[in-house]
Structure formats: structure tokens, C-alpha cells
Symmetry: C2
Subunit: 228 residues, 2 copies
């Protein structure tokens, strides 16, 4: 997988940037370091000025790549979901059994990113961490409908759509595919967050992984046995 990922280039909707950050060292640096800085100080306190001084570059140079920090967040989240989609498709590719596909999909969606796969300027482990705490902020805004029309969330929606298909294939009669798919993808992030900050509100800990909870949930909701 490592080597395959080396050839993986994320295609991000061009309304999310002014200049494609993949086309220059500065651009890659902006993306790579913004992930680390957002993780350290949180999105609210993150500014282009701070990022500039961190990468030894100027505030205004960053503005040539991204309109503002919100668009940068949209870029990073799109990157993450494109990467997740890639993992999902790859890991379920050669499976024949629809239930096996479903089980694997839930695993891919809910597993922690253990280590930086290190095929690019992006640290996926830390990107995963900021998705858990910042993703919601990318769409819980007053501009959501406008940005949605512009295609800012298309990668995420495509991923949810893929997961919907996987669910539907495993259980063609289930009537709430869309809600189940979106709830699991969002719920996984939420459970990871609770594990870190509100342990009393989750059953997930060192011994119980989110994926166990979600596998049980989805399979019993779909009236399928988990073979466990």
C-alpha cells in the first residue's frame, strides 16, 4: 500500500484555493505545517500570520494560495476525505462477500490513523486528529449552502455515497441508508473525541475500539449476524 500511496495525488476542487499548493514547495509547506499548527493551537487561534512566521514565510504569501483560513480548512478536510475514500476503495476492492465489504468499510472508517504513512508533505496521523476536532467547523457556518453549491463538500459527499452503496448491497431492504451512512461517518469522529475528552460519555477505551461498537450497531440494525 505504501508504494501505491506514493502515486496517489489528491484532486481538490479548485474553488478551495487561489493557487494550487501542490505546485510549489511553499504551497506544500503551507499545507504540511498548517496541519501541525492547527493541531497545536486549535483552529480558532490559528492565523496566517502565525503560520507565516512558523514556515519562515510571509503572511501575504499564504493569502496567494488560500483566500482565508476557512478555505484552508476546507482544503485540508477535502484532502482527508479523499485519502479516506482511497483507503476505503482499496481495502474493499477484492472482497466478494457484501458483508465482508461492509465489515471492512466500517473498520477503515473508524480505525485510528496509527502512523504517518509518510508519502507526502501531509502527516495523516495529525490530520486525522484535526479532523476529529475541527471538521464540524468546516460546514457549521452561515456560508454552507453557498459553498455546498460550489462543490466544496463534494469529496465528502462522494465518500458518504460510497458507504451508502456498501450498506445497501449488504442489506437491500434497509430503508434509512443515507442516515445510517452519514451518522456512522460523523459518529466515528465524535466517539474518538469523547474518548479523549469525555471518557464517561463513551464505551470506547483502551480495550474497546469504536469499530466494535459501530460494527455491532450496523450489523444488528441491518439484521445481519456479525459472526462473532
Amino acid at each position: 500500500m505504501q508504494s501505491l500511496l506514493r502515486n496517489f495525488k489528491v484532486v481538490i476542487h479548485e474553488s478551495l484555493y487561489l493557487k494550487d499548493p501542490e505546485t510549489s514547495d511553499l504551497g506544500k509547506n503551507i499545507v504540511g505545517e498548517s496541519i501541525l499548527l492547527i493541531d497545536e493551537i486549535g483552529f480558532e487561534k490559528f492565523t496566517f500570520k502565525k503560520l507565516g512566521s512558523r514556515i519562515g514565510s510571509n503572511e501575504s504569501s499564504i493569502y496567494r494560495y488560500f483566500e482565508n483560513k476557512h478555505k484552508l480548512l476546507l482544503y485540508l478536510t477535502s484532502w482527508y476525505w479523499a485519502w479516506m475514500e482511497y483507503k476505503l476503495v482499496f481495502r474493499t476492492a477484492n472482497l466478494n462477500d457484501t458483508q465482508e465489504v461492509l465489515r471492512t468499510a466500517i473498520e477503515v472508517l473508524s480505525e485510528e490513523t496509527k502512523q504517518d504513512s509518510d508519502f507526502s508533505h501531509v502527516n495523516e496521523k495529525i490530520l486525522n486528529a484535526i479532523i476529529i476536532s475541527e471538521f464540524s467547523k468546516s460546514y457549521l457556518t452561515k456560508e454552507v449552502d453557498k459553498e455546498n453549491k460550489e462543490g466544496c463538500f463534494s469529496i465528502y459527499k462522494r465518500l458518504v455515497g460510497r458507504f451508502e452503496n456498501i450498506i445497501q448491497n449488504a442489506q437491500p431492504n434497509y430503508p434509512y441508508v443515507e442516515s445510517l451512512a452519514s451518522m456512522v461517518i460523523e459518529g466515528v469522529l465524535h466517539q474518538h473525541y469523547l474518548k479523549q475528552h469525555f471518557p464517561s460519555l463513551t464505551s470506547c477505551d483502551e480495550t474497546t475500539m469504536p469499530h466494535e461498537f459501530f460494527t455491532h450497531l450496523v450489523f444488528s440494525t441491518l439484521n445481519l449476524s456479525t459472526h462473532e
Copy 2:
């Protein structure tokens, strides 16, 4: 219920305010109008200055009640969850069957607030709307652990705890109560948001209510029949 609610006074942890807004007209006005203003322009663009000019009062006067806008949001969300807890307890009070209690609880948690119950300065319908789009922002911050220790989220945690008990009573063997409870409460808000802004990602629409999806989900996960 209307008349009972008239006697209902929400007790909010005092670390969330500098001066209890319930003790003056200005305070009540701050709370009441902040809900409307946040709903109109969104939490990011909401400022005490704008609120001040809206209520014909001064910015600095608002600072005597709330340390900053984040604390005000914590106050409003606590108020909402306290009100929800009240509705939950009240509506499940005289039910004997544990499954009936569970069904009702899911209904209370996932139903839309249809109209302002008008027993206070708070418009619950609009408060419900801002909870859907702003609640996550109250805890997805770098200060979450510190504020959690101070008790800022205790009402919410208590509500989740109550729902956990309801689930556990209906099915004592279920191993993921905490996660199921927290996921449903959060998931309800998420499905409502999707319904408004990403209809393709949810099965909920004019004819299908979130509560149907969640009832089916919870009952099948707990291996209980829904009698439907």
C-alpha cells in the same frame, strides 16, 4: 405542561456567568436576544457590540454578565440541555414499560421544537435551531478539558447519563450503552442539520422523521422489537 414549565427555573453552573442573567431585565434581555442574533448571523460573526446595539444597551454592560461570547454559548447550551432533561423526565415519568420509556425518550430527544412554549424570555424553537448548528463549537475547543473540570458540561453529561439508564433498563445486556446514548443525542442534531443543508446525506425529509430512523436503530441494536 405549559403551566408546569412556567415554574421551571433552569439552574446553570455559576462559572458560566459573572452575574446571573436571570436576576435582571437586562440579563434576561441579553439571553433572549443573543439567541435570536446568533441564529441570524451565526456564532462566528456574533459580537457583544452587535448584541449591545440590538438591545439598546452597551457592549461593556454585557461583559458584566458574561466573560466572553464563548461562555455565553456555554450558558445557552446548558440552558437547552437542562430544558431537554426536564422534558425527558416529565414525559417518561408515569410509564411503566421500559421499552415504552425508551421509545418516548427517543421521541423527546429527536423531535423538532415546534413552537415557542413562551414561558420565559427564551424562544425554545430558535434555541433549538442554534443548538443544531452551534452546539459542537461549545466543546470543540482547546479549553475543553479545563472547562469540563470546572463543570461547564455537567448538565449535558447528566442528560446523557439519564438516557444511558433508560437504554440499560430496556436491555440490561447491551455492552455499549454510553456510546449509543451519546451517539443518538449528537446524531439527532446532525441529522437535523443534514436535512436542512445536505438533504442527499440523510433519509429524513418531510415524510420521514429523524425519530423513526433512531427508533429503528436503537431497538434493533438492542434486539428489541419495535411493535410496528
